[in-house]
Amino acid sequence: MSATTDRRPMSGTTSAGRVEIHDGAGWVPVCGYAELTPGRGVALLVGGEQVALYRDRTGEVYAVDNRDPFSGAYVLSRGLLGSRGAVTVVLSPMYRQAFDLRTGVCLDEETAPDGSPAVLRVWPARVRP
């Protein structure tokens, strides 16, 4: 992820910064950084797709699919953030599986009930002053 260094706002820009997500074609501004509560997420519509955007306690932002592959419901933005060792994860609010926010990989189960791999699409996200 090339945008890693942009995952945090530059010092001094904390409250004024904007969050942008790359939708494949270009960077799309989605919301103010200050609108994000540390440890929680929000749901976004990006080019017709549902994206879950989070901010962790250290201030970094992450974006993944909002769809929970285990229930099929679009609810991951409502999960709590947590850490598994050094990995920041989101815990599905439906059946509590953990997903690595950097890779989108589910750490608890390999495949979803429909047989597809339990991996979320990771959307590049950055904070701009």
Binding site: E35, Y74, V75, L80, R84, M94
Partner: protein, 895 residues
């Protein structure tokens, strides 16, 4: 007088006389029916009696024949007098509290078919011809047998006093007996039980629960004279009288008197007094049903019981007898199920070419009678030469304990009334004859005072689980050799603890000790972020006045600066909320809440939410119902009445929650906290106000309790109920705290649970006035909140609490820990600072900000939440795999 003993009679006249038409053997050969021989030369086994022991025998037979494959299978016919397959007679009384007959069944579905067993319900055996090896049934069928097994059980003994068979007299043995008692109780006011033994007290409890004024008439000078001694009988009597049962000991029944219609109207007692009663239950002991054996000339004991040897064979090698109808090789007739099971196993082994024998059994018992623990084990009466007694009695608490110690200092037996927690440990000690691990005085002291010694003290050969005969050594082996690392694993592997369950606590202790000994560390901490338990964190937050998760994890977490997880965050959120740190959606607290708390609603399977307004005590005005109905209609919500006497509205999207609640709050409704680990509802019955049996205003109290404890955050959800009389229509004894009205006040029960692991609540205190009741509940709740683990319901907390109920009573009633002032203050603060979370949320735009489907597109609804119609309401439709693909289903609500 309803009795099911078709073949045996109390008065000793010959009941089989006159069954006629059988006995002419020549004729018989001609009429031998095809049904008796199936054309193969498979042996035919006929079992007479499909009771508890009969069923166990069949199971053991097949467990064995799996092991002895190759032995040609037998053909099996079972003759049953009762109209249903074997059921759990031991738990018969639970039928009164609502356990359906099917649930009591011991015969697994498919069992009979799988093994090709021909079970003939309602067709008892009436005669045996041993020479011809023929059994005749009541319907006139004659069956040839190769092996005959008698498992006919016992019949209740009814003293032949005048009036003993009047209308209104009952016995207590079968489901049909109970049906008759219930029907009779409907029109009755006063009931009497003749006999103050184990069954009599159970019957008395049942009558009491049906709202009858209940008397127990016992001939002996004390209750349960077989199991307990005088002191124990006294303690038991006091406890039982506390529950409103009137006990008459040393009183024989001289006659049952009747009115002009021949119905029971009273009893004349041997002490010259009389009782006016409408219903009588005879429970004066049981007698073996050995009439069939007597009539065919098999030897029976002087006081009844078919004589068998250690292999359960009668004098005729083709006939076996097991269970309560048998007089075992040790010269005793056993009236308990465990010895019966042991005989069933021995007989099955005998018939499948194995070796096994039954030479006697331990008759230790532990029971809960009317909520009172009673246990007796080993030489309970101290009949061994030179035996000494060690006593502990606390008549206020109704506790009586006696240990019988041999001249050599070994434990021989004992009696425990009111607190039988140590039974599981003491019984095996007494039976193994090993030296005591501690001075006997210490073993009888309540756990909160004396140092009760742990399971280490038990020798390896001590039987820990008597139901399945599992020793401590076998449990240790399961841990060390078979790698079992938890109680469930040990249960699966050894079967220990899967019978009556009384040994589970001891089992847990042994497993924990063995695991600790083998160096397995049992992590007690909350999760990877905290090595502390919830109770420890509670104390830290309280004492240090910590107000934020960041500070807690940075100062006390195992990984300072860490993110936490979905285990520790909600726990801390609940602690902070419980200790008065403001609205749960404010500041950093907002980030900690579980998703349900975060949106103050319950997330459902498709990501939509359900809304539950509080309806205290289940009381609601017609106008209130109309408002809820209108809101549900206007927002297109699915409505369902919950088990907690409120109304659940399903199918709201995140953005609909505020407008729905706006209307609810305007109509006077509050958050029902269905989403939180908090008080749910206080259910109630209509009570005295309307119900003709009620003795107190149960609805009024339920409302008061619900308003007092609403919003109280706790380790897990809290449920409660109030019943207006002992009939218990509100099911208070299945709740975390339940209250049942008595004529004198309120009885408080705690630690009950429904759901997956049901537990009957224990009586904490009886006949409390309202003020004391509320103070006691306050302290109970706060003590629980303070000390319980995460997600630990009151039921398991109480099971785990050192010293159990006695300790809890000491803490909340006698302030033994000196913390009651603190507990009272914490509750007072909760009551003072309570505010409706939804009203407060609606009043604050900052808190409302989160209720949008998409942060970057406010006002756009979530297109993936879809509903279809079912039974005139909505239900979740399948979610589309991608937001862009529309499903084919009918959309009934446009968003």
């Amino acid at each position: 007088m309803e009795r099911t003993d078709g073949t045996d009679r109390v008065d000793g006249t010959d009941p089989i006389d006159g069954t006629g038409g059988f006995g002419d053997k020549d004729d018989l050969h001609g009429t031998d029916r095809m049904g008796d021989t199936d054309g193969t030369d498979r042996e035919h086994l006929v079992l007479v009696g499909h009771g508890m022991v009969g069923q166990r025998f069949l199971e053991a037979l097949f467990e064995r024949s799996d092991a002895t494959a190759g032995v040609p299978a037998r053909r099996i016919t079972v003759l049953a007098e009762e109209p249903r397959p074997a059921y759990d007679r031991v738990h018969l009384t639970s039928w009164f509290s609502g356990t359906p007959a099917e649930e009591l069944s011991l015969c697994p579905p498919g069992f009979l078919d799988e093994h090709g067993i021909d079970l003939r319900l309602g067709d008892p055996a009436v005669a045996i011809d041993r020479e011809a090896r023929l059994v005749t049934t009541a319907s006139g069928d004659r069956l040839r047998y190769d092996t005959l097994v008698l498992a006919t059980g016992s019949y209740p003994f009814v003293p032949p006093v005048p009036g003993h068979d009047a209308e209104g007299c009952h016995v207590y043995r079968t489901i049909e007996d109970l049906e008759a008692i219930r029907a009779g109780a409907a029109g009755a006011r006063v009931g009497a039980v003749v006999g103050g033994g184990l069954l009599g007290l159970e019957a008395a409890g049942a009558l009491r629960a049906m709202g009858l004024e209940t008397h127990v008439v016992e001939f002996a000078p004390r209750l349960m004279s077989i199991q307990v001694d005088e002191g124990g009988g006294e303690a038991l009597r006091r406890k039982i009288e506390d529950l409103g049962v009137l006990v008459h000991t040393g009183a024989g029944t001289r006659a049952v008197t009747t009115d002009e219609d021949g119905r029971v109207s009273g009893m004349a007692l041997s002490d010259g007094t009389g009782l006016a009663v409408d219903l009588v239950v005879f429970s004066a002991g049981v007698r073996p049903r050995d009439q069939l054996a007597r009539d065919c000339g098999l030897p029976v004991g002087e006081r009844g019981g078919v004589v068998v040897d250690a292999r359960c064979r009668t004098a005729d090698p083709a006939v076996l007898a097991i269970g309560e109808c048998a007089l075992a090789a040790d010269g005793r007739v056993y009236g308990l199920v465990a010895p019966g099971y042991a005989m069933a196993e021995a007989a099955a082994r005998e018939l499948t070419g194995g070796t096994g024998s039954f030479t006697g059994a331990d008759t230790s018992t532990k029971l809960k009678l009317l909520g009172v623990d009673v246990a007796s084990f080993g030489d309970a009466h101290g009949t061994t030469e030179g035996a000494l007694e060690v006593l502990y009695a606390n008549s206020r608490a109704g506790v009586y304990k006696k240990l019988v110690i041999g001249a050599d200092g070994a434990l021989l037996g004992g009696v425990l009334v009111g607190d039988a927690d140590s039974y599981a440990l003491l019984r095996p000690l007494a039976l193994s004859g090993s030296p005591l691990p501690a001075p006997p005085e210490q073993l009888v002291l309540p756990a909160s005072i004396g140092a009760a010694s742990g399971p280490v003290a038990l020798p390896d050969e001590a039987v820990v689980c008597s139901c399945h005969n599992v020793t401590k050594g076998e449990i240790r082996a399961a841990v060390h050799e078979q790698g079992c690392a938890s109680v469930p694993e040990v249960k699966r592997c050894t079967k220990a603890g899967t019978g009556c369950g009384s040994c589970v606590k001891l089992l847990g202790g042994i497993v924990a000790e063995e695991l600790a000994a083998s160096g397995v560390e049992i992590a007690k901490g909350l999760c990877e972020h905290f090595t502390l338990t919830r109770a420890e964190l509670y104390e830290i937050v309280r004492v240090k006045g910590i107000g934020s998760f960041s500070r807690l994890i940075d100062e006390h977490g195992s990984l300072p600066g860490g993110e936490g997880c979905d285990i520790c965050k909600p726990v801390v959120a609940s602690l902070l909320a419980g200790l008065g740190n403001g609205h749960i959606l404010d500041g950093e607290q907002a980030a900690l809440q579980d998703t349900n708390d975060h949106f103050l609603a319950n997330m459902q399977r498709n990501g939509s939410y359900s809304v539950v307004p509080r309806i205290p005590g289940g009381e609601i005005t017609p106008q209130g119902l109309i408002v809820i109905g209108e809101i549900a209609r206007d927002f297109g919500l699915y409505t369902k009445i919950t088990g907690g006497q409120r109304i659940d509205l399903f199918g709201a999207t995140v953005d609909q929650l505020p407008p729905i609640w706006r209307r609810l709050v305007d109509a006077g409704f509050e958050s029902g906290h269905a989403y939180g680990k908090a008080l749910r509802t206080v259910k109630s019955c209509v009570g005295e106000t309307w119900c003709r049996y009620g003795v107190q205003d149960s609805v009024g109290l339920a409302i008061e309790l619900e308003l007092r404890y609403r919003g109280l955050r706790s380790p897990h959800k809290l449920k409660s109920a109030v019943s207006g009389c002992a009939r218990e229509c509100a099911e208070a004894q299945s709740k975390d705290f339940g209250v049942i009205a008595t004529a004198a006040g309120w009885n408080l029960y705690v630690g009950g649970n429904g759901g997956m692991t049901p537990r009957h609540a224990d009586l904490l205190a009886a006949d409390l006035d309202r003020e004391t009741l509320i103070r006691t509940i306050d302290r109970f709740l706060m003590f629980y909140i303070r000390t319980a683990d995460r997600l630990e319901r009151t039921a398991s907390w109480l099971e785990r609490l050192d010293g159990g109920m006695d300790h809890l009573r000491a803490v909340v009633l006698d302030d033994s820990l000196g913390i009651c002032a603190d507990l009272d203050e914490l509750m007072a603060r909760h009551v003072e600072t309570y505010e409706d979370e939804w009203a407060a949320t609606l009043a604050d735009p900052e808190r409302l900000r989160r209720f949008v489907s998409f942060t970057n597109a406010p006002g756009v609804p979530d297109p993936t939440i879809r509903f279809v119609a079912e039974r005139d309401q909505i239900r979740p439709g399948p979610a589309p795999a991608s937001a862009l693909i529309a499903g084919p289903d009918l959309e009934v609500r446009a968003r």
